[in-house]
Symmetry: C2
Subunit: 141 residues, 2 copies
């Protein structure tokens, strides 16, 4: 249909390439991941392994949860934990060929969708912002 | 144009009403706000005053920033702070009559947009999820 066609024309531009995406390694200690998240200002970022494959997502809230003892924050709780201990592993990913219908469908419940190639190597992310820029553009024509 | 018309038809359904929106009061201590954010699971929520007017946004990252001393977390830093000390005050709001072009435009840079009435009373939020549900629906017809 018309909406799908219009969004499809610009498909190549939605992907933010891996080199522009903040990420951490699954072996990084949580203290380090907390500093990275605070510095880059994103609430959740991809996690990769030594082979540069996408393996999960790490969020500020997961790290804050790890600091809590009941209702008290204790930063020492992070001392023996690393990213892979608290990262989300159940993550919907995009694999080629990228399908705009699938991208739109996933964007309803996911602020960003990680993309990988055939070897599961992390290649970038598609964000809600990029999709809404395109929709906004269409609505203004 | 067609996209705008289609999105306009469903305009009334985009707003999540205030009673379904997690929020805190500007006078709440930051410890309390941290617990609320952790419990509801949202990264950023509206702040209202005693008159139920919208006054700002409070985020998990703003509270985590307040806990930092250089690179160390110290929860005691929150003891003397309340929501209004760290909330974002410069916030784009929607006022009636709501305009779908403006809503789409704001959604490009804002995960959600607070809506108020003529007296600045908080009436709800419009989220990217609600907009993308509509776009997704259109693209699948
Ligand atoms: N430094 C910044 N500069 C400009 N705008 C900023 C920004 N940080 C946040 N925003 C705005 O806030 C939205 C939500 O950011 P959040 O970090 O929660 O959620 C982000 C974050 O989890 C992830 N993300 C986006 N860009 C990223 C990047 N370059 N590296 C790593 N993760 C990224 O994708 C989610 C959705 O991103 P999206 O762009 O749709 O939506 C972003 C964007 O509109
Ligand atoms: N408990 C939950 N159940 C189902 N899905 C959940 C969820 N918590 C988060 N999500 C998903 O994650 C997205 C980002 O949530 P976040 O809390 O960073 O960012 C949220 C949050 O800052 C705010 N928000 C959404 N609903 C809210 C509510 N009921 N009360 C307060 N703030 C809300 O608007 C932003 C964008 O929301 P949006 O729905 O577009 O996008 C949400 C939604 O797709």
């Amino acid at each position: 249909n018309a909406v799908k066609e219009l969004l499809l024309e610009n498909q190549a531009d939605y992907l933010i390439p891996a080199e522009n995406v903040a990420h951490v390694m699954e072996e990084n200690p949580l203290n380090h991941a907390l500093l990275v998240l605070t510095k880059v200002g994103y609430s959740k970022i991809p996690v990769i392994n030594k082979e540069s494959q996408f393996v999960g997502l790490i969020s500020l809230s997961a790290i804050v949860d790890a600091m809590f003892d009941l209702t008290e924050i204790d930063p020492d709780n992070l001392a023996n934990l690393c990213v892979k201990d608290v990262m989300e592993r159940e993550v919907k990913m995009l694999k080629p060929p990228y399908d705009i219908e699938k991208i739109l469908h996933l964007s309803v419940d996911n602020p960003f969708i990680p993309a990988v190639n055939k070897e599961n190597i992390f290649v970038g992310i598609i964000t809600r912002r990029e999709l809404l820029k395109a929709v906004n553009h269409l609505a203004h024509e």
